[in-house]
Amino acid sequence: MLALATLLLAPVLHADEMQTVLARFGSAEQNLSYRLTWVVSDARPPQVLERIHRAGQRQSSLELLSGGATATLPLPTLPSAQPESAQRLLLLQQSYRLEPRARETVARRVVLPVWFRPNDGLRYATMLWLDVETGVPLKTQVHDSDGRILEYSVATALELLPDATDPAASAPASARNGSWRIDPMPPGFRMVAVHREGAREQLFLLDGLATISIFVEPADGRRTGAMRRGAMSSLIREQQGARLTAVGGVPLVTLERVLNAAIPTGCAGSGC
C-alpha cells in the first residue's frame, strides 16, 4: 500500500523537488566554486576533461586529461552573461516544458534528471541530470528533433572548492547595448550581455538553457558558411559591411533567423 502510494505521489514529489533543484541550477555558476571531471562519450575517441569553475571570477580553466598529454585552456567568463537565477528560470519556462524523473546516482552523487522539452523547433531537447545538492548538471544529453543524440557527457567527479571569491577579480559590467541588435528576437531568447574586445563585439543571447553568441567584426572577405559539430552550430555571413559569426547550441535554422534579424543599432529598419 505504501509502495503504491509512493508510486502515485512520485510525480508530485518530483515536481516539488524540481523547483528547488532548478533554483540551485540557476545560481550554481554564480555561487559555487568546483572542479568537475567528465567524459564526453559521443566523441571519438571519448574525451576526459576537467573544468575548474570559480564563482564570480573571470577565469575558469579547462584541462584535457585523455590522450596522453594534458593541455589547459583558460576560459575567460562573462559574469554578466550569467543571468540571475530568477530571470533564468523565467526564461526557461517560456521555452521549455520541464519534466522531472526519479532520482538517480551519477559520480556517486544523487541527481534529479530533468527533461527540458522545447516548445518549438528553435532549440534542442535536453536532459540534464542535476546534482540535488548543488544544481550542477552531472550528465547531459542533447537531442535533435529526430531524437538523434547530438551530445552526451557524464561527470565522473564533482569536487566543491573553497570559496575564493575576490571582488577585485570580478569583471567589469558589460555594455547593455551593442552596435548591432536582433530585431525581432527569436521567441524565448533575450540578449543578456554585450562584450567588446578590440574591434570585435560579442552579443550574448540566452533562453534560460541554450545560448547564442553573435560576433561582430569588420567584413574582410574570409570564408563564410555553416557548420555543426555535435550540438554546437555556427553560421557566418557578411552583411552591411560587417562579418557576423553566429555560434550556439541551437539548430542552424535558429542561427539563420538570428542573422536575418541582425541590424546595426542606428538603423530604423530594412534598407539601412
Binding site: 574525451q47 575558469s60 584535457l64 516548445n119 528553435l122 532549440r123 570564408r223 558558411g225 557548420m227
Partner: protein, 202 residues
C-alpha cells in the same frame, strides 16, 4: 594470378554492387543463390554493412555487436517454418490462401500495424501541457509566439567544400570556444566545443 582469388574478388565486387542495388540480371540471380550458403560471402556482406554504418553515422544508441546473432537465435528458437509465399501478388490469390493456411496451422500471430509518421510528439503541439506551477510572467516579458515545426537541419559543409564535413579551421574553432566559455557551462553545445578544442590538441 590465382584463379580462385580472382573468382572470389569478382564475387565480392558483385556483392558490393548488390548491396547498392546496382547488380542486375543473371549476375544478381547467381550471386543471390550463392549468398544463401557461402559463409565467406556472408561475412563480407556483414563487414561491408558495418563499414556503411560507420560512414553513414547512425546516431543514437549503438546496437551491440551480436545483435543480429541474437535475432536469428530467437527466430530459430521459435521453430517456425520459414514463411511461404510469393511476394509478387498480381493474381496470387491462391498463394495468399495457402500462406494464410500455413500461418494459421503454425500458430503464427498476425501482425497488425498502421501507417504513422514519426514525429517527435512534443514538437507537434507547442504550448500544450503547461504545468500549473508556471510562474506568472512580468508585463514586459516577450510574448511567446507559436513557431511552426521547422524541418530538421541537414549537416551543412563549411564554406563551399561540397559533401558535408565538420573540419574546422582554427580561427572558426576560436569562436566556438569563446562562446562556450562565455559563462553557461551547462548549455547545449558546450561539450561539443570543448571536444573540438580537445581534438586540436592531438
Amino acid at each position: 594470378m590465382n584463379h580462385d582469388q580472382d573468382g572470389a574478388d569478382v564475387l565480392r565486387e558483385q556483392l558490393s554492387a548488390l548491396m547498392d542495388g546496382e547488380l542486375e540480371g543473371s549476375e544478381k540471380a547467381f550471386l543471390m543463390r550463392r549468398l544463401a550458403h557461402d559463409q565467406d560471402l556472408k561475412a563480407s556482406w556483414d563487414r561491408y554493412h558495418q563499414i556503411r554504418e560507420v560512414l553513414s553515422e547512425p546516431q543514437g544508441p549503438r546496437r551491440s555487436m551480436d545483435f543480429a546473432d541474437r535475432v536469428m537465435a530467437a527466430i530459430e528458437a521459435e521453430e517456425a517454418p520459414a514463411p511461404q509465399r510469393a511476394i509478387r501478388s498480381g493474381g496470387s490469390g491462391q498463394g495468399w490462401r495457402q500462406a494464410f493456411g500455413a500461418a494459421m496451422a503454425a500458430g503464427v500471430a498476425a501482425v497488425a500495424f498502421w501507417v504513422t509518421e514519426p514525429v517527435a510528439p512534443e514538437l507537434t503541439d507547442p504550448g500544450a501541457g503547461r504545468s500549473a506551477s508556471m510562474v506568472e510572467l512580468p508585463a514586459n516579458a516577450p510574448t511567446l509566439m507559436p513557431v511552426p515545426l521547422l524541418a530538421p537541419v541537414q549537416r551543412a559543409s563549411f564554406g563551399d567544400s561540397g559533401a558535408g564535413g565538420t573540419q574546422l579551421a582554427p580561427l572558426e574553432a576560436h569562436y566556438l570556444l569563446q562562446h562556450a566559455a562565455a559563462g553557461v557551462p551547462s548549455a547545449p553545445g558546450t561539450a561539443s566545443a570543448y571536444v573540438e578544442w580537445a581534438a586540436q590538441q592531438r
